[in-house]
Symmetry: C2
Subunit: 289 residues, 2 copies
C-alpha cells in the first residue's frame, strides 16, 4: 500500500456524511481520515451496532441512523447504498439539509438515478452522480482500504440543472482522495459501463454457472480470473443490471455476434480467420496494460 | 516466491531434455535445477542463440538444435513446443532414443496428440501426454519461475498402450516439481479443459475484441481480470483451439444457452430470476476460492 500524502490539518475542512458504510463507504471514510480531508466523518446506516463497530475502528467519528441529522451537520453527503435506494435517500436528506449541501453517490448506474433525482427538482438540484471505478468482490467495512481510490478514475455525471460550482467542488473532492475525474452525461456513462463492467459481470456469472462440479479441481488461474467478479453480491448486482437493462441487452447482443464469429471459425477449422480474431483481441487487451 | 526444498544430490538423478525453452520449458528447467532433480538439463530448440542465452542464465546445461542428440542422452524428453508440433517431435526422438526413453509434453490439448502418436505405434508407446495446469500470459524463458508447478495440478493422459511403469515414472516426475497428478483419458481431458480453459479463452478474446477504443480509459479491474488471458499468444491458441474444436463448439453453445437465460431475465426486468441466476453463479465461484 502506498503512503498517502498527509497535508497539515486546515480549518476549512469539510464535514462529510457517508450513507452506507460498507466496503466503498468504509474505504472512503478511511481515505478521508488518512489524508486529513474531513473535519468530521458522519456514518449513516440502518444498523447502529455495525456503525458503532466502524466507529470503534476509527473509520467514522459519529454513528447515526438519522439521515436528517447527517444532512444538518454535513457539507457533503455521499450515498454508498445500493443503487435502488439512492433517490429516496437524496429526497430525505435535501428536506433536512441547508441549500449549500452537496450530495453525491457511488452507484454503478447513473441514468435511472438522474431521472429519479430530476423528478425531485428543485430539491434534487444539489445532487450530482459519481461513480468511482474502484471496487472489489469483497464486502464490509472490515475490508476498507484507504488507498482504494488512489490512481483510479472517478466518473461524475452532472446534469443541466447542476451548478458549475457544485461540479467543481465534487471534482476536487474525488481528486482529494487520489482519483482522476472524468465528466460525462448519465446516459453516456451507462452505455459505456454496460460494455466495460456490466457485460463482463453477466459473462463471468454465466461462465461460473456452467462450471460442472467435477471440473472444479481443474479450474485454473485463467478460469478463476475470468469469473472473479461473479463472486460479487447478487442483490447489489440485480439492482445495477436492472438499472441499466437496455444497454446491457444491447451489449450482450454485440458480444454474442462476436462470439458467433469465433464459433464459426472454430467449427470450420479456419485457422487464418481464428488467428485474425485472436490477434485483434490480443492487440485490444495489450492496449489496456 | 516460496523456498523450494533442496534434497541432497543423488547419483541416480535423470537427464532431462526440454524441447522448446520458452516460459513453460524454462520454468521446468528452473524447477529441475532449484530442486536438484536432474543430473543434466538439455535444452533443444531451433534458435541456438536463444538457447545459449538460456544456458548463460543457468537454466540449461547443454544447448542443441539436434533432437537426436537429446534423445540419445536423455532419460526423459519433455516437449514444450506448440501442440501441433509435438507428434513429429516424438517421431524424431523415438527414432534416435533408447527403448527406455520416456517422452511427454505439456500441451493444452491431448486427444489429437494421442491419436497422432498412436498412429506411430509401436514407436509412440513410450509417449504419455501431460498437461500441467500452470501458465501465464507472459512468454519467454526470461519470465521463468522455478515454482510455477508448485501446488498446481498436472493432468497425465496414459493410453492403453502405455506401461504402468512409465505412468508411475511420469507421475513421480511431476510430483518432484511440486505438482499433484490427476490421471484421465485424452478425450476426457479435452472435454473438461474445453469448459475450464478453452471456452474462457474464447470468451475473453471476444470480450476484448468488442471493447471500443474510447472506453479503454474506463475499463477497470473487472474488465481487465475478465480479459487477461486474451493477451495469450494467438499462434499457440489457434493450435490449441483447433486441436479441440468440437468440444469447444459444444461448450460455446452451452454457454450461449446460459447467457440467453440471463438476457431474458434482464430484458423482462425479472429481478427474482436474475437474483437466482446470480446466486448460483456466486455459489459456484465461491466454491473455487
Amino acid at each position: 500500500m502506498n503512503q498517502s500524502p498527509v497535508p497539515p490539518p486546515s480549518t476549512d475542512r469539510v464535514q462529510v456524511a457517508i450513507v452506507g458504510v460498507g466496503l466503498i463507504g468504509g474505504s472512503l471514510a478511511a481515505a478521508l481520515k488518512a489524508r486529513h480531508i474531513a473535519a468530521k466523518v458522519i456514518g449513516v446506516g440502518r444498523n447502529i451496532s455495525r456503525l458503532e463497530s466502524a466507529q470503534s475502528l476509527g473509520l467514522i467519528d459519529v454513528a447515526t441512523t438519522d439521515i436528517a441529522y447527517a444532512a444538518q451537520n454535513a457539507d457533503l453527503i455521499v450515498f454508498c447504498t445500493p443503487v435502488d435506494l439512492i433517490a429516496q435517500g437524496v429526497e430525505a436528506a435535501v428536506a433536512a439539509g441547508s441549500p449549500q449541501l452537496l450530495l453525491t453517490d457511488v452507484g454503478s448506474v447513473k441514468g435511472t438515478i438522474a431521472r429519479e433525482v430530476g423528478a425531485l427538482l428543485p430539491a434534487g438540484k444539489n445532487f450530482i452522480g459519481s461513480h468511482p471505478l474502484a471496487g472489489s468482490e469483497r464486502n464490509g467495512f472490515e475490508n476498507s482500504d484507504a488507498d482504494l481510490f488512489e490512481g483510479k478514475t472517478c466518473i461524475i455525471t452532472p446534469c443541466p440543472w447542476n451548478s458549475e460550482e457544485h461540479t467543481v467542488r465534487l471534482t476536487k473532492f474525488w481528486e482529494s482522495v487520489g482519483s482522476s475525474v472524468l465528466r460525462m452525461t448519465p446516459d453516456e456513462h451507462d452505455r459505456k459501463l454496460a460494455q466495460t463492467s456490466h457485460l463482463p459481470h453477466v459473462l463471468a456469472a454465466a461462465l461460473a454457472t456452467i462450471l460442472e462440479e467435477e471440473n472444479h479441481a481443474i479450474a485454473a488461474t485463467g478460469f478463476r480470473d475470468s469469473t472473479r467478479i461473479a463472486a460479487g453480491d447478487p442483490d447489489l448486482w440485480v439492482a445495477i443490471i436492472l438499472g441499466n437493462a437496455q444497454s446491457i441487452v444491447e451489449s450482450i447482443d454485440g458480444f454474442s455476434d462476436q462470439l458467433a464469429e469465433f464459433r464459426a471459425a472454430i467449427e470450420k477449422g479456419d485457422a487464418a480467420t481464428l488467428k485474425k480474431l485472436l490477434d485483434v483481441a490480443k492487440t485490444n487487451r495489450d492496449a489496456l496494460s
